[in-house]
């Protein structure tokens, strides 16, 4: 019984980690219709920013906002220099961000080398019966939930959020009523990147910063967003918990390869029945 509970809890934590890595991608896709293939590298950017900050003596907790801010600024630059020029050209945007992904990867190799020191995980654990679980990964459940709630409130209750949703739904109408949709899009992209930076920083104790960490993350994040469909935020949350959590449960009882196979098989199955994503028929729109 304790074992089952421990497994469920740690699976929920793995699913939350996946969700944390995915939310930024989902926001950009949902609000701009842009798939950012460099999303993984923005996570890496955040991780290295936080790592460098802690190496300079900044406490880890403070290095997180620094990483978010830096990633947001960098994201805004990328939007202004590249993404903005490719609006309406979906494939071209993907290719350009893909090029960016590779360029950033190589930059990281040049600057930081291929291996870098991790930072220690806070040594705290809780006991469930005879099983002991580290607290930090469990904390990620709370972090993921607060990220979701935060983004939801940002998009529904703030003026920016309304503008952003107006700008993506009917861009020319939004412009006609005086919304500067390109500024809004820059901010949206920056927020998406900031969320990626946050993910990189907050996950740093669990996932050490390496130049290739982005590739590892994005595979599952992309699939989550694709399976989620048009209602990106709620859809991503649901598919991250379902697919990521399910895969994690399977890998606790069997092997991690079995967990991965479950994940990919479930993706294919879901896409067979919901080719445009599980949320394509939902009436709820966020």
């Amino acid at each position: 019984m304790d074992y089952l509970f421990a497994v469920l809890l740690s699976s929920l934590s793995s699913a939350s980690i996946l969700l944390i890595a995915t939310i930024g991608l989902a926001v950009v896709f949902g609000l701009m219709g842009v798939i950012n293939l460099a999303h993984g590298e923005f996570i890496m950017f955040g991780a290295y920013a936080a790592l460098t900050a802690t190496q300079q003596g900044v406490p880890f907790i403070l290095s997180i906002p620094i990483a978010v801010l830096l990633t947001m600024i960098f994201g805004a630059l990328v939007e202004i220099l590249i993404i903005r020029r490719l609006y309406g050209r979906m494939f071209d945007t993907m290719l350009a961000t893909w090029g960016l992904s590779l360029a950033l990867y190589q930059c990281a190799v040049i600057i930081f080398g291929t291996v870098s020191p991790g930072i220690g995980m806070p040594q705290m654990s809780i006991a469930i019966g005879e099983y002991s679980l580290a607290v930090y990964p469990l904390l990620m459940i709370v972090v993921a939930a607060s990220m979701l709630i935060g983004v939801y409130y940002l998009l529904t209750k703030s003026v920016y959020g309304m503008k952003a949703r107006a700008a993506i739904q009917v861009p020319h109408m939004a412009r006609a009523i005086g919304i500067n949709s390109s500024n809004t899009n820059t901010l949206t992209f920056a927020i998406g990147c900031g969320l990626a930076g946050f993910a990189g920083a907050v996950l740093l104790p669990i996932v050490p910063a390496t130049p290739s960490m982005g590739f590892a993350f994005v595979i599952k994040s992309f699939l989550i967003v694709v399976v989620a469909g048009p209602v990106t935020l709620a859809g991503s949350a649901l598919s991250a918990i379902g697919m990521g959590g399910g895969a994690s449960v399977i890998s606790s009882f069997m092997t991690s390869v079995a967990g991965d196979i479950f994940f990919f098989a479930l993706t294919l199955l879901l896409l067979r029945f919901y080719p445009l994503g599980i949320s394509s028929r939902w009436r709820f729109k966020l």
Partner: protein, 607 residues
Amino acid sequence: MTFENLYKSFKYSLPLALVVMVIAGHGAMDPYLAYVATSWVIFGLLAMSLDLVWGRGGVLSLGQTAFYGLGGYFGAVVAVNMAPVTGNSLIWLLPAGALFGAIAAALVGYLIFYARTGPLQTTILTYTFTLVLWTLTQSFKLTVGDAVIGGDNGMSNIPGYILGFGEGAESADPNLMFLIVVVISALAYLGVVRFMDGSFGRIIDCIRLDEEKAELLGYDVRKFQLYNFLLAGGVAGLAGGLYAGWANYLNPSIFSVQEALLVPIYVLVGGRGTLSGAFVGALLIGGVSFWLGGGAIGGQTTLILGITLIILVMFLKKGLLGALDDLCQRFLPDYNAAARDMKPVEVDSAVVSKIMLDAEAVAGPAKSLQSRDLLKRFGGVVPVDHVSLSFGPGTPHSLIGPNGAGKSSYLKVCVGLYPQDGGQILLGDQDISSLPMYERVRAGIAVKNQKPQVFPELSVQENLWMAAYSMSREPEKAGEVSSAILHMLGMDKQREVSAAVLSHGQQQWLDIGMVLCLAPRVILFDEPAAGMTNEETRELSKLVRLLSQYVTIIVIEHDMEFVRTLDGAVTVLHQGRLFTQGSIAKLRNDERVLDIYLGRRAHVQNL
């Protein structure tokens, strides 16, 4: 020989000339250059497979290196085991590679196209496929006979290109390798270009331009997309087999993102959709990085390539061949000029009757269209609310009703553009409710949507031919039918004009012509008169009345004068339901019909 003919022959003559030059100059190249250049040609072949899928098919696949790598591995496994027996290695390496690449592409393509995932999802899924293979192959270890796939350590001892048979046959030297690869790639290129020049390629082009219209013409879009994907997978697998023999060694890096990134770069540099551009791009990038030093394995290649891709996407949209093509266009005659002296369409009843009788000889007698309790819901809106109607030939049917009455939705449900949520649709005696759209079209139902749908890059004649070919699947017959319709539309002189330059009204006529090319037994027109002049509307009315003698025809129109001239049966829809039916004279005196059009309250509420 005019410049025009010369221009049209370029895609065959120029590559052939290059191959002849390579054969003539055989042995003269520096062996090292020949060795390296061989790989550029192989990459060109790989890039051509992407251009097939992306440039022609309109689907961006980031999985071409996956099929290439799988083809390479499989070809190598077969060659390692079989080449010592026969001597010759190419007869194993290449067919096995191409076959396995094609099989893998067919599996992936089946999942993607038959699930009808969106374009974005398709790209992501192919990219994921590559990434997953990259991860899995790192630890994948397998021994098949003499072949050892060693995960990270890769697979070595792959035989080179051995041409001779028997015991003593030896591997080709670099110059001969180059020659072999050039000849094989040229054969593959010419075969693919020739194939794509035929009806298959035209259908693929139509799917890229307008997938919905292609299916409305009765083409099984998914099947053609799958075949195209399979063909491209085979080409990629062939390239993989060539690569395995060239390198004598394979490892998981063939599936790496860096490798995959190069493929769209080659295509973009050369020019998308040209097929030959893939080779131009690969040779150019290979050559430049070779002479700049470092080759393809130089230190910061990834960084440079990443930035190159961004710049290419942003600034060089058409690629080198695209730019050259624009230059050539200036010296070609401008067929579109003929669009200016297009005469208004005049419907000749003798011509129309002949066309309709010919169609009847092929497609059989007219069929009726019936809906029973048909239901379509969009969330809380119910545009088709349990509608039971029946239409037959002999008199034109008009479907009228105020905006939002559900007229267009009704047509779209009948043809299968919207899946119905309940009820039945009968075409003649056949229940077509569960058939996909293209099968309904093939069964004899044809629709012209509100917005004219023509393939803009195709000429007027080609547009009609595509429709006619869908029915007969015989090029000559399609030519005859489309010429007859072209004549009926009075567009003989405009046959070479591209459909994009036609006016809205002319596009309407062309779209109507395409519908007639399908020899339909039931015709659905959604606002055909929109954008037409008064004269043209008169001719259209005459055409509809003529057609109604041979087939069942249903017209949605807001132009009441037009509906009056049709002098047929009128059905009024209101809020998704059947409101009333009758002749236009009767309905004109029906207060309730006037009420729903004018929005007078009293009667509307008492519905």
